[in-house]
Amino acid sequence: MTISIDPQKTNNESLQPKGWLRYFSFSLDHKVIGIQYLVCGFLFYLIGGTLASAIRIELASPMSDFMPRDVYNQVLTLHGTIMIFLWIVPVVNGAFGNYLIPFYVGARDMAFPRLNAVAFWLIPPSGLMLVASYFVEGAAQAGWTAYPPLSITTPQSGQIIWILSVLLLGGSSIFGGINFIATIIKLRRPGLKLMQLPMYCWAMLGTSLLVVLSTPVLAGTLILLSFDIIANTGFFNPVLGGNVVVYQHLFWFYSHPAVYIMVLPAFGLVSEILPVHARKPLFGYTTMVFSIMGIVVLGLVVWAHHMFTSGTPPWMRLFFTIATAFIAVPTGIKFFNWVATLWGGKISINSAMLFSCGFIINFVFGGITGVALAQVPFDIHVHDTYFVVAHFHYIVYGGTVFIIFSSIYHWFPKVTGKMLNEKLGILHFTITFIGFNLCFAPQHWLGLNGMPRRVAEYDPQFQFVNQISSLGALLMAISTIPFLINVLLSMRNGKDAGDNPWNALTPEWLTSSPPPVENWEGESPLVEEPYGYGKEISEQK
C-alpha cells in the first residue's frame, strides 16, 4: 500500500512559528528537533558538570567537609543520571540522529515526525522533575544503578521521582529508536542501497536495535522496584524473600547495552568526520558495518560482567568473560580502520579533527582497561573502586563527549551557516584534553590501590592524587568557557560558511546552510559514494 500526499493538507504553513520560537514549539521538522535535543542536552550537561565539580571539590580533602555525606550521595546519583540519560543518550542519539539521518537516507523528514516531537518533549519535564527532586525530601541516593536494597531503604520520594523520570526518558528513547529503525530501513531514497549509506546510519540502526530490545526490560524492572518501594512487595527485598541479584541481572541487561547506546553513535560520527578532514575514503567500510552489528549481538550477552562479585556462579563468569573479551575484536577492527583512514591522508588539523583524534587516544585507554576489567581475577580486585570510574569516564567522556564536541565543530557550519572560531576551538580542545586526562588517569592508580567509589571520605594517603584529579576537573570546567564564547560569538559574527566549507561528499553538505525546511529544493541527491575522496585525482592519473 502506498500513501499519496494530499496537497490541500500541506498548505497550512502559517501555523508553524518562525525564527527562534520554533525551538520552543511542538515542531515536526527533524532539524528543529535535533537542535532542541542538542541545546536541551547541553543545558543538562552544564548542570551535571556542576555536580561533578561539587564531587571533585568534596574529594579534594579526605574528610567530608564540603557537604554532608547524604548530600554527596544525592549529588553523585544526580550527576550519573543526568549525564547518562539527559546528556549523552539524547544528544548522541537524538540530536545528531535526528539532524543527520534524514539527510543520509535522502528523505525530507523522519518516518514518524509526530512521534519524534513527542519523544523530545518527554525529556525536559522528566529532567526538571529529576533536578527538582533534590528540593523535595532530597534526591535519590542509590547511584545511577539504584541497586536494591539500598534504593529501597533510602528516602522514598527521591527514589520514586528518579524512577518516574528514568521511565519517561526510557519511553522517549524507545520512541526515538522505533523512528530511526523505520527511517533507515523504510525511508531510503529509491536507488540508495543499504551498503551505500554513510556509517552513522549503520551505527544508529545498531543502536536503535539495542534501544528497542533492552530499554523495555529496564522499564519493567523499575516498575517492579517502585512496587517494592511503594507497595511493600518483596521482589528485590531479601527480608521479604526477594532476590537482589535478579534486579542486577535485569538492570544490566539494559545498562550494559546502554554503554553501546552511548558509544556506537559516536563510532558512527567519528567515521563521518575522519574521512572529511583526512581527505581519504573510510577504510574498510564493509568490516565496519559487520563490526557494528557484531557489537550489537555481543553487547546483548555480556551484561553479567558487571556482577562478578555478586555471587555469580563460575560457569556464568567464564561465559561472560569470554563474550566480553570477544567484543574487543569488532571494536579493535573499527579502531584500526580509523587509524588506517588517517594513514597517509591529507590531514587538516582543526578543532573537529583534534577532538576526533583525542577520542581515538582516550578510547584506546578505555578499551584496554575494559578488556582488563572483563577478566574475573582482576575485576574482583578492582570492583567498585576508582579504577571502574576511570574506565567508564574514559569511554563516555574521553570517547563519546569528545565526539559530541568534534561533531559540533564539524556540523556547526551546516546548522547555522557560520564557521566557528578555530583558535578558540583549539584552545577548547587543549584544555579539555589535558584536564580530562589529568582528572581521570590518576584514578586508575587510586582504584588499583583500593580507593572505593561513591564514598565521600577516603584514606588520607590518597589525598595528593585526588587533588591532581580535582585540578583536572577544574580545567574541564574551565574548558566550557571558550566553547560557550565561541558558539555565542560565532552565531552572530562568525564568517560565512557557504554550503560546503569542508568539501565533504556526504549528502547533508549538498544542500544550503542552513538547510531549507524540507531539506532540498528539488529532488534529494543520490549519493552512492559518501566517502569517495581522492577518487577523481587518481582516475585522472
Binding site: R108, A111, K186, G220, G241, N243, L250
Partner: protein, 199 residues
C-alpha cells in the same frame, strides 16, 4: 509545500509521484517487539525466582484452573471475532464489522471481569510472598494491556459507523493496527497461562 504536518504528508522520498510506502505497520511491529521485551523481562524474573528462591511452607498454592482456562478461551475466540470484523470491513459491510468489533470488546470486558473475580477469590494478596507479588505483577501488567486494547477496540468500533466513520475498506490501518496489538496481547496471555498456571 513546506509544512511538516504528519508522517503521511511530509514523507516524500522524492520519487516522481511523491508517494511512499506505508510503514506505520512496520513502526507498530517494532513497538510490539519492545513491548514483548518488557514481558520477557518479567517472565525471566519469574522463572529465576521459581528456580532459585524457595518459597516458605505456607506459600505454595494449587491455582484453580477453571477461570484462567475460560479466560484463555475467551481471548482466543476474541482474536477470531476480531479477524471476522476485518474480513467484513474489507467487503464494505461496515455494520457487520461494527457488530463483530463490539462483540470482541465484550469478550475483552468479560475477560477483565473474570480476572477481577479471580483476584478476589485467591488465597493470597499482593504482598504476601514473592510468588504472590510476581503473580499479580504479571497478570496485572497483562490486564492493563487488555484494558487498553478493549478501549482501542471500542474507539475503532465507533469509527466504523456507517455515516461519517473514518474506518472504511479504503482506510483499514486503524483496524489492522489494533488487531495486531490484540493478537499480540492474546499470544502473551497464552505464554503467561503456560508458565504461571501450568508449569
Amino acid at each position: 509545500m513546506t509544512t511538516l504536518d504528519s508522517s503521511k504528508e511530509t514523507q516524500k522520498n522524492n520519487s516522481v509521484d511523491e508517494t511512499h510506502e506505508d510503514f506505520r505497520m512496520f513502526g507498530l511491529i517494532t513497538f510490539l517487539i519492545a513491548d514483548g521485551m518488557t514481558f520477557a523481562g518479567f517472565f525471566a524474573a519469574y522463572l529465576t525466582y521459581k528456580a532459585v528462591n524457595p518459597l516458605p511452607d505456607g506459600a505454595i498454592y494449587e491455582l484453580e484452573l477453571p477461570i484462567p482456562t475460560l479466560n484463555t478461551i475467551l481471548l482466543l475466540v476474541s482474536s477470531a471475532t476480531f479477524h471476522k470484523a476485518g474480513k467484513a470491513l474489507l467487503k464494505d459491510k461496515n455494520s457487520d464489522s461494527q457488530k463483530w468489533l463490539f462483540f470482541t470488546a465484550f469478550l475483552g470486558i468479560i475477560f477483565l471481569i473474570c480476572q477481577l473475580f479471580e483476584y478476589f477469590h485467591l488465597p493470597f494478596g499482593l504482598t504476601d510472598n514473592l510468588f504472590a507479588s510476581t503473580f499479580y505483577a504479571l497478570t496485572g501488567f497483562h490486564g492493563l494491556h487488555v484494558t487498553l486494547g478493549t478501549l482501542m477496540i471500542l474507539i475503532i468500533a465507533w469509527q466504523s459507523r456507517i455515516n461519517g466513520g473514518r474506518l472504511t475498506s479504503q482506510n483499514m490501518f486503524p483496524l489492522e493496527a489494533v488487531e495486531l496489538y490484540w493478537h499480540f496481547v492474546d499470544g502473551i496471555w497464552v505464554v503467561l497461562f503456560i508458565i504461571l498456571y501450568l508449569l
